[in-house]
Symmetry: C2
Subunit: 221 residues, 2 copies
């Protein structure tokens, strides 16, 4: 039988991990099609001609790309349980704001650490990433309302947006011998990260840090 | 009486124009607080500490920034009429995809024409902008379903996302002696642009092209 939901992805991609978590939260069965960086499939090229990037979700033969747009789509289509976006319009807007901050500011800074020229520049970028996590710690305190996740009792949009990057955050910590999430700066996020990774919707799709480190080495070559 | 809705903006900003159109569509009365580039207000700095940018919408003393996030918020809060996002989840995701394309790819290219070094580079950028408009012409044909707007009969998310830039598109055309929207490449968008600018929600808030040209000269100085 032809699968109704297909996901074109690759296991190390934090953006793909986000979509997998959203699908897991909604108990949606899907076929995972692993793409290879070095030779993109015809299906990927025709499903996302603009960016030619994963993830692509194909639902009833209709393709969608951009991870946060897919996550919102999953929430819209499988709306009967486990809401991902907050129900209050203001809370929803705030979740979108910080998710965009993570994608447009915080993650590009973390990613640029690897290619930084000189120790001073690297230090500056690391401080900037930590400062961003400090902001996201404050957002957590405001939005979790004493519960375990950004979304309160349940995983939500911001948990998925930030949590998808936890594997690469750990790789960055190890590669640079620093703590980005630490007791001093982000005590709540330290506990949140552990809860997040142990969550049923997350634990089987969060890439293993050791494997990511091996993968990062192949990227360097 | 204190106004329930305030908008911190500036008349030449395409991002502010988007929010004004959305508020007009919903017949929301608001107080418009004109910000000055050279000295940002205390209210702006404290309402949007992360980016310190307009537009900021303040609704019942709670601030929001990022134009497309505000537009979605306006649609969520004043939901009883004139829907801005499509009701179908897939159509909604597609509208979000192309709105993000406009903000992340198309507009940055158009904006960079002004500072381009050399005629060849300028030509290349102009061709890229036209190619993007060609794509948006195809999207229009698919989503308008023979009606006047991206959203069908009524203005929608994509009309607002692209339409907000029409003033600056014309300035770019005049400054460079080119047609970006033209009968050959984008016949449907040529007609759409005229309809859009004549729409009741748009015509009083779309900046005048002549005034924008004068404003652009002050930016150069």
């Amino acid at each position: 039988m032809k699968s109704e939901v297909k996901l074109l992805g690759a296991w190390p991609s934090p953006f793909v991990t986000r979509v997998r978590i959203a699908l897991n939260m909604k108990s949606v069965e899907y076929e995972f099609l692993e793409e290879r960086l070095e030779s993109k499939s015809q299906l990927l090229l025709q499903s996302n001609p603009i960016y030619q990037k994963i993830p692509v979700l194909i639902h009833r033969d209709k393709p969608l790309s951009e991870s946060l747009i897919i996550v919102q789509y999953v929430d819209d289509v499988w709306s009967s349980h486990s809401p991902i976006l907050p129900s209050d319009p203001y809370d929803r807007a705030i979740a979108r704001f910080w998710a965009a901050y993570i994608d447009e500011k915080w993650y590009p800074t973390m990613r640029s650490i690897r290619g930084a020229e000189g120790i001073e520049e690297k230090k500056r970028l690391i401080e900037e990433v930590k400062k961003g996590l400090g902001l996201l710690e404050e957002v957590f305190k405001n939005s979790s309302k004493g519960k375990g996740f950004y979304g309160g009792d349940q995983l939500g949009m911001l948990d998925i947006a930030l949590g998808g990057f936890l594997g690469w955050l750990r790789v960055t910590e190890i590669a640079n011998g620093v703590k980005l999430l630490d007791q001093g700066n982000t005590p709540e996020l330290v506990k949140w990260a552990q809860r997040f990774c142990e969550h049923d919707a997350v634990k089987h799709v969060m890439p293993d840090t050791g494997k990511l480190i091996e993968f990062a080495k192949t990227l360097k070559r």
